[in-house]
């Protein structure tokens, strides 16, 4: 338990270092970007305010101070939990991220689950029966999808299933004209279907190819040879011995791919106009909402790093070799 606490503490330290580095870098990038917070805030009304009014806003927001000073006051606020106010949504950044993340969370969760399960199964089958017809079909599929951009798949699905066949809605997280809090559960799932399908289809490729390689490696190992010598068939060897051995790297990969999932969800959300965090990120970027943009960057950093942390912790649960070393 003591070693575990130490392990956890060192991971948390690493997490905070990463967040600190990312915030400095993104702040530097944003301060060099040609974004004018006043225009972002006022829009076309900017033309109507006087020089004095503008000067007032500048001094009130601290825009006349040097970038390091601005960074320190921003970082100080963040440490106190104040991420500032989103300019385009006119709400605290924390609230915007919270609301948007709930929508994105379900999208990413289902996509993560389906792509993980399906990819793992396909990869295991392909690896077990290497060079069979099934393997070749699965590999062809995976290579094709691995080289296909997410937004393109999203558009194809949209055109085919939503526009042509009309099976699924074209956009959004609920029926038009219904307030977000009144949308029924079934409706929510219905609107999630196509974005989830897009992300799952694209996300399968990597985990499939990875699992396939691991399964092939497994079958070249001594213990796979021995299992066969004991009378196991290829498929029973794969099920009883192989899956256990390749599960861990697959889980790790799946958690480590949260970053890609996040960026994939940005693209899918834009195509489907799905009001999630990804869409908010793009809006913040296009319309110069600096506080929201920085907030999302920090949030997604934490999200991805925590994903990797979970993968590391799972190692200790699945692998007895790591587990007992921990216990000693």
């Amino acid at each position: 338990m003591k070693t575990f606490c130490k392990y956890f503490a060192s991971k948390m330290l690493r997490l905070s270092i990463i967040v600190a580095v990312v915030s400095v870098l993104s702040f530097v990038l944003v301060s060099f970007a040609p974004l004018d917070p006043i225009t972002a805030y006022l829009g076309y009304d900017r033309l109507q305010i006087s020089q004095e009014q503008e000067a007032q806003i500048i001094s009130r927001w601290g825009l006349d101070k040097s970038p390091p000073e601005r960074f320190l006051s921003w970082a100080g606020n963040i440490l106190r939990g104040d991420f500032g106010k989103s300019v385009i949504f006119n709400e605290p950044v924390v609230d915007v991220i919270g609301k948007r993340f709930v929508a994105s969370f379900w999208l990413m969760f289902f996509a993560w689950l389906f792509s993980g399960l399906l990819g793992f199964i396909l990869g295991a089958v392909a690896g077990t029966f290497r060079n069979s017809l099934a393997d070749r079909v699965i590999r062809f599929y995976a290579y094709t999808l691995a080289s296909t951009p997410t937004f393109w798949v999203a558009m194809i699905l949209l055109v085919f299933f939503a526009v042509k066949l009309g099976w699924f809605p074209v956009c959004c997280a609920g029926p038009l004209g219904v307030a977000p809090e009144d949308v029924s559960f079934a409706d929510r799932l219905y609107h999630l279907a196509l974005p989830v399908l897009t992300l799952s289809l694209v996300g399968i490729a990597q985990i499939t190819l990875h699992t396939r390689e691991k399964m092939i490696d497994f079958f070249q190992s001594n213990h796979a040879t021995y299992a066969l010598a004991c009378g196991e068939t290829r498929s029973s060897t794969a099920i009883f011995h192989g899956l256990r051995n390749i599960l861990l790297p697959a889980i790790t990969l799946q958690f480590a791919s949260l970053g890609e999932l996040f960026s994939g969800s940005v693209l899918a959300e834009v195509v489907f106009s799905y009001p999630g965090l990804g869409k908010a990120t793009v809006d913040a970027g296009i319309r110069g909402d600096v506080p929201l943009l920085l907030g999302v960057v920090i949030f997604s950093t934490i999200f991805v790093v925590v994903g990797n942390l979970i993968a590391d912790l799972l190692y200790t649960l699945v692998d007895p070799r790591v587990r007992t070393e921990e216990a000693i």
Binding site: Y226, A229, G231, S236, R244, P320, T324
Partner: protein
Amino acid sequence: MLAIEDLHISFHRYNKGLDRTKLTPVHNLNLEIGVGEIMAIVGESGGGKSLLAHAVLDILPANAETGGKICFCGQELDRKKINKLRGRKISLVPQSVSYLNPLLTVGRQVFRAAVVAGLSKKEAKIARDSAFDMVSLEEASMKLYPFQLSGGMAQRVLVAMATVGGAPLIIADEPTTGLDPELLAGFLELLRVTIDNGRAAMLITHDLNAARKVADKIAVFAGGTIVEIINNRENLTSDKLSHPYSRALWDSLPENGFNLSEIKHTYSARENGNQQGCLFRGACCCDREQCEKSIPPLMPVKHGLVRCWNA
């Protein structure tokens, strides 16, 4: 119980681009093992002895080709038949604990071996317990993972794996590697007890001394085939050996003077050459005309069979 006739194992290897060479690490191999017998296959490491074991179980890598006949209890084996025999009738004691799944407790793996050998879950549990009992391992050791086993325990677990399904033929592939003399003696005794229950074993080893202690017959493996089979294991002495390679092997034992002769180098240069004649010609005392022309077959001599025109 097991009869091997004229076994060949070959591999295709790509040298450069599409330039292929065919390697034949095992050729013209004949062997018979009877009930209650331990047949030791002795030869140097890396010579292809393990391939023999893998060929009998049909677990060679996919790029291997085999020729010849393998008969088990009078039946010629093909792929389908071997599939049914593995684990049930023929079992393997592997080289080391790395052949066990590192992520499963040894108790579960022994149980699984019994289930795969065709026992019901109830029978498998009983078989597992008695297998652990037979190799004198405590019940608590069933809960250990392979990496937690000591060398001696690992050997016992591997023997339990091989015997739990009740297979009458046990193939032990270099099971003695890395064991200290005490563990080795224990293992050999265990093997002897196992075989005396009406089974048979093929003990593959590079340790001539270990083979002498336990085997009923010793087959000397060299140059990809068996050059001599010695029936009489009792009081084995140099003059009972007829083949020049067997004598060289004997002389290389520590207690016989550690003499390394040139014979190994001579034949290994000729291996895989697919040429006619005895592989050992020029390296032994008395070359004959016949030695140039053809590989000698296994011929009966006083203490067994030997592949030498001079014997």
